[in-house]
Symmetry: C2
Subunit: 414 residues, 2 copies
């Protein structure tokens, strides 16, 4: 007998029929002798309907009140799901964030979980009932309702699984697992049967949005085995677990890409201590996230580029932040007496991820060779222990992904 | 400076525009220097939408889960209302049943309030904010969400007013007060400016459904002055308060009628102790409410009626309960060896209510004379200290109401 947490997203509970399917699946798991905790999102479309209602009242709704409204989406689906389990002859009880209780900080609309009491969940499953927990929501120390931000139900699921020491956390979604790359870009992409938390983190942050990055962090921290699988079939999906020996045989596990970033190049900045800190300090102050940072006199130094004692700094920011960021980047650049600031939205980031890189030399070099062979120029490189990312012109994105996927042997049948 | 509770029903918060009106009204009261607590119902139609959703899952939804869903209606309107107050430049915080907290028994879908903690409401108003409390909902000792049943927001309002020692509880509704009788039946009906709790109780139970009967009971118990008034105007409505000297000048305060009851006559029942108890015990067991009860050999004893040592028992039940009640009333009648059971749905109950009856003799006799003068036959009579009710053929209802309203001087200009 195992203790299993099963999370169903908005699409999986998007209609009464689908809620019935959720009920049947949870009951099937219980019928195998397991104790089952179900985590549900709001019915798809419901959160948007509620947000719209709030925005009809006021352009900038109070965050505390916004959470009171948003939390009703999961409240309804949790109770409907409990009813559906009962209708199929099973026992079930819904549990809300404040009932569980899922204690968070007080950062409304983007709260972080601080602690989870497991006793109500335990007492429910010990009575032979399925506990249906409303995802996405919690309660702060004042008893105010909070929400975890979009996609927060994944986080609820993994955090609950960690808190109650579940044997597995199953994330049911509309894809059947994590793929070696985007199947829409590369038809030979394969489902990965097992991936480490570390690799999943790199893939998630790079755009493979199967699983919320925060939930992976929690799973890694507490060693929760996560099983990402399809709501619509019984096939095994992808297990996200601790790395083990077998994983290291593969050098590259997946190829990711991200078209959401823009490149900023600040040229001719004085090359002395503190200047770069000043630049990025100013940017961080405005809540603009910076991803890649490359400082080198060799990069992008044209006629107006870095001269003696001067350097160029390149970095990427989200395209959605760019309009807002431009004025103060320009301002900081002026105050640093930079020669120029250039913005480039026509770029994409292509990355290879794999634990095997740590023990295999020359992976980055192989990546550059593969791209060069296709005539793709690399405008920036950034590396971590298990990842290499290259900025390329965005028109080459798909070509680069397919070439890397083939070149690292990911297209081969297993 | 006073502490004022203002309750707004489903129609009053039925759209974003109406919610804005609620916000303005609460702020206007606050601007007069008062501390304001607002109680809101769900937006009109919302509770039905939620019930329908639950009934799509299962014919007989679990009561506990039903309350989890139903409570979201008030949760949303409380937060929207708080936002609307903020949008008008005021301070406000929504408070849910479990946050206040409004402690109830565990009778889901029809819970009764056991206690209300005032501290969260006090701390909110002491900070200069308007507390917007979700009506209709509470929490039981296990932390489970409960609801008070339809119209429960009136009860929340009066109970909160009692708990925090409010100076007044204003019930905003779509009528502008309590009338001497139904204006649709009797065009000369007048708004009553002041009525006692006791009279209101008799009028409410008789069908003047301006105010939930349970809320009047609580108001009476704790002496909360209740002001029933229109959401759509600033005019004074009707104050429901302790009786005072001035009230006693009026013999009859109002005329009510009720077409929802059916008459049952059980004839030829053995006239010995315990028989009647057995009959009504059996009916009560099936959760059928009985209103008027008249036991007399004189009533309805025709050829098959009561003989020597036998009696007839007549009573009224809700028409909506009749189909369900018939089989076991027949069965009990058989086991009591009654001669026959007759059912009559073509009746109505007409009542006069007034504190003054206690000190004025002959009020009932005057009522009978007025009805007789119109040729209306009375098929049953029941009296309390401040009320006389007569069963008449339902086709005479409107005639009887108008005749009594005129006959007791209620149509005269004040």
């Amino acid at each position: 007998m195992a203790l299993i947490v099963q999370k169903f997203g908005g699409t999986s509970v998007g209609s009464i029929d689908r809620i019935r399917n959720v009920a049947r699946r949870a009951l099937a798991t219980a019928a195998q002798g397991h104790e089952v905790v179900v985590i549900v999102s709001a019915m798809s479309g419901e959160t948007n309907r509620l947000l719209k209602l709030a925005h009809e009242v006021t352009q900038i709704p109070d965050a505390r009140e916004m959470d009171v409204i948003a939390a009703t989406g999961e409240q309804v689906s949790a109770a409907l799901c409990a009813m559906a389990i009962q209708a199929e002859g099973g026992k079930a009880r819904s549990l809300l964030g404040h009932q569980v209780k899922i204690l968070t900080d007080g950062a409304f609309t983007k709260a972080r979980i601080k602690a989870i009491e497991g006793s109500k969940i335990f007492s429910t499953v010990k009575k032979g009932a399925i506990a249906v927990v409303a995802g996405f929501q919690g309660v702060d120390e004042n008893g105010d309702i909070t929400t975890l931000g979009r996609g927060g139900s994944d986080t609820t699921a993994v955090a609950v699984a960690a808190a109650i020491g579940a044997d597995a956390c199953e994330i049911f979604t509309d894809v059947d697992g994590v793929y070696t790359t985007d199947p829409n870009v590369c038809p030979s992409a394969r489902k990965i049967s097992k991936i480490s938390y570390e690799e999943m983190l790199e893939l998630a942050s790079l755009g493979a949005k199967v699983l919320q990055i925060r939930s992976v962090e929690i799973a890694m921290k507490y060693g929760v085995p996560v099983h990402v699988r399809s709501s619509f079939s019984d096939a095994e999906g992808t297990w996200v677990t601790k790395e083990d020996q077998s994983l290291e045989d593969v050098v590259v596990t997946g190829v990711a890409y991200d078209k959401n970033e823009a490149r900023v190049v600040v040229t001719g900045v004085e090359d002395k201590p503190g200047i770069v800190a000043e630049l990025f300090g100013a940017i961080a102050e405005k809540n603009v996230s910076v991803d890649m940072i490359i400082q080198s006199p060799a990069i992008a130094s044209g006629p107006n580029g870095a001269g003696e004692g001067r350097t160029d700094v390149a970095f990427t920011v989200l395209k959605t932040d760019l309009a807002r960021a431009k004025p103060f980047i320009d301002e900081v650049a002026r105050s640093l007496e930079a020669t120029s600031v250039r913005y480039d939205e026509g770029i994409a980031k292509v990355s290879i991820v794999g634990l095997g890189m740590r023990s295999h030399a020359g992976v980055a070099a192989k990546m550059f060779r593969i791209l060069a062979k296709e005539g793709i120029n690399i405008s920036a490189i950034s590396t971590s222990e298990i990842k290499v990312s290259c900025l390329v012109a965005d028109k080459y994105t798909e070509l680069a992904v397919r070439a890397l996927h083939d070149g690292f042997g990911l297209s081969d049948a297993v």
